[in-house]
Symmetry: C2
Subunit: 430 residues, 2 copies
């Protein structure tokens, strides 16, 4: 039977999960896939982590050279996170002729082109299913199932931390900071939560996914990004009343006009499959020119779900002799011909802090109208929940319009000098 | 550039869609995948179909031998449906050294083991993503992404026709036969709808999917099957009121006690991701021991969605030199060690046709209790919708219990000689 040796770099949550799955299922994989996959080495400076997993001392390496020079190691699983030393370690492993499987979205997003170029040069595999949306089989689907489609758009809830926070705010009516604290207590959010709540994590994943969807590198620096820290509980509740769920969405579109990529909070119409993706669940909703709408849903993070994605890549790598790379030229920047659309189209929820007096609504609508924005819905409930300003809010939901038009209109309303000002603007997806 | 020739057997809905995608995207595939995939031949006796698609006369074959002897053909796409002549044609293609891509669930379900054995013998590929759930990337996910998991269970809405009918019954309050007529008018149901509405189609697909999930052949003849023709509009409405959506579910479970496979209508608790899969959409909800819950959602049928799955397989086959087969011994019957559980566990919705007099409920509950069935909920709304019998129904929802216990209890209630009889039993999934 073919023998394949694995080394795991980092025994944190995902590394530990990967180790457990690989060792617990070793016989299952021998029987099902005809290959004996064994963990031959781990690189983990906190030796007690390795010992707690029952790994024998002789397999605990203390530097990357030991891994690279170990002839028993065929596949290196990089689950350390962050750019360095993960990048140097992955490149060293590739140079040593090992295939690399990684869950490191930041590394793949920022330096995937370098890793891939090195992997091609060294005729080894590079796999990163686990870098995006944990256990959800999105990358394999894009590469080997939906690859006959031109992807028109993707919309994803691809960060579990923020989805947990927004779900708590929606279901329990609590504030952002209370929900964040709860998420931290449960281990869903880190002590410094900024990578998640400011949308960086989602931006890295959207960069990877949209590159695969649109067949050109989409650098994360070209992605518009807005986090969830400014979401107020009253907007969450107003949205709920008028039929929306608040989500941090990662959106990519490829139209004739160009590519549009953005991460920001959005109201999603109830009834849309993404609206009911709650708690720490993730989902990617994709439209292809042949397949139409497809949604993949599951756990976006966690020891075993992300471990499942790592192990899926490990088995694939162990049972395939042919290495395959991105279906596009993987470069640092987008193709020169790629045009990024910044002035995108969307519907908008605009909450105004208004004095309850005659003529205020008509002033607002006339500013909107001057900016070419047409109104779909106006809500002003006298018995409604009050905003942070203690006022009963005036809410306007627009039809599809342009981002720039809304920015101009908001500026004009606020400059008006009147008593009506814009409290919140949230994009709406239906 | 590598050239790969395709022949399409049958230019019905899926064959036509496949042709359109392959020809319309030929340049895209050359650029993205470095392979020139061309349709070199079609086998279609209704020549006008081929001409309508713009296929030149010289490429229209009239018998399978022309396809098999055509050296330009590398991959044969079988989209004829039914067992014969599809089976003979696929075997002939395989014998001639062509790889086969098929959307034919009945063929794969009943004779997949024969086709696979022939494919192995002839060192060609056999692909059948399109046989299950149209454009939804479930088979590739099972083979190459979730393959490190032991699948604990799968639940699917895997027949679009019945889901369309049940959605119309739920949303519009119409009867089964009205909804069926509408589905027929829209082309969602065939003139003879029995393969769909009696659950055969779902059974074929469940056989294929559960075999891949549980790593043993699950013959369709071992699957418990019940269709949707007996679903009454009043049950649909009662279910809706107490928080359930009616679905035709395909369920597979692999427990320590054995394998459980069944296709039947079921009430799915609102809030469960499957409950909001409506119209002709399909979804498979799967639980793996590592990945946890995953759901894949999309169009289960149609020209382009199913064409997308076919083309995904064609590109995969055209770009991979290594052929891979089932991750289990693909045989006619299940492994001798496989135990099928017929007396499965479930919760139940039982509607009773009862006289509105004292003591009726207690008679019923005492029969249930004697059979070890515990009651979770009782509903008797005086102003409720009446059953077909004109009576206000008494509805009992049970906790998890055994199928056999419920059958015995129903028999006992009906035999009681009293005025209370069981009108409907529907399994409940939460």
């Amino acid at each position: 039977m073919k023998k394949v040796g694995v080394a795991i770099l980092g025994l944190g949550v995902v590394g530990g999960g990967t180790y457990k799955i690989l060792t617990g299922h070793r016989d299952f994989y021998r029987k099902s896939y005809g290959v004996d996959i064994s963990v031959e080495a781990v690189l983990e400076l906190r030796k007690e982590r390795a010992l707690a997993l029952g790994i024998e001392e002789g397999k605990i390496a203390t530097n990357i050279e030991e891994i690279c020079s170990n002839p028993e190691v065929d596949i290196v699983v990089e689950v350390m996170g962050g750019v360095e030393p993960a990048k140097s370690f992955a490149l060293a492993a590739i140079s040593a002729g090992k295939s690399v499987v990684t869950s490191n979205k930041e590394l793949v997003c920022k330096f995937g082109h370098e890793l891939e170029s090195a992997a091609k040069h060294n005729h080894v595999g590079l796999f990163y299913e686990a870098s995006c949306v944990g256990g959800v089989p999105i990358i394999r689907a894009l590469l080997d199932n939906l690859q006959g489609n031109k992807v028109i758009s993707l919309m994803g809830i691809i960060n579990g931390t923020t989805n947990y926070i927004l779900t708590r705010m929606t279901q329990d009516g609590i504030s952002y900071s209370e929900a964040l604290k709860e998420a931290q207590k449960l281990g869903y959010a880190e002590a410094n939560p900024s990578s998640d709540v400011e949308g960086f994590d989602a931006t890295y994943k959207l960069s990877i996914l949209s590159s695969l969807c649109f067949h050109t590198k989409i650098p994360y620096t070209d992605i518009y990004r807005e986090g969830i820290t400014q979401i107020s509980p009253c907007d969450v509740q107003y949205g709920k009343r008028i039929g929306y769920a608040i989500k941090l969405l990662a959106i990519g579109k490829n139209t004739e006009k160009g590519v549009e990529v953005r991460v920001h909070p959005a109201f999603v119409k109830l009834g849309h499959p993404l609206a009911s993706v709650n708690d720490s669940f993730n989902a990617v909703y994709l439209t292809g020119d042949s397949v139409g709408e497809v949604m993949l849903y599951g756990r976006g993070a966690g020891e075993l779900p992300t471990g499942s994605a790592i192990v899926g890549d490990v088995i694939y790598c162990a049972t395939h002799s042919q290495h395959r790379y991105s279906p596009f030229e993987n470069t640092e920047k987008a193709k020169p011909s790629t045009k990024f659309i910044k002035n995108f189209e969307s519907a908008y929820y605009i909450r105004l802090s208004a004095e309850d007096k005659a003529g205020e609504l008509s002033k607002v609508t006339s500013v909107l109208s001057r900016n070419g924005i047409s109104v779909a819905q106006v809500v002003q409930e006298q018995d409604g929940i009050r905003g942070e300003d203690g006022k009963v809010p005036l809410i306007v939901v627009t039809h599809e319009t342009y981002e720039d038009s809304v920015r101009r209109a908001v500026e004009a309303i606020n400059k008006n000098g009147g008593s009506t000002t814009v409290a919140t603007v949230i994009r709406v997806v239906s």
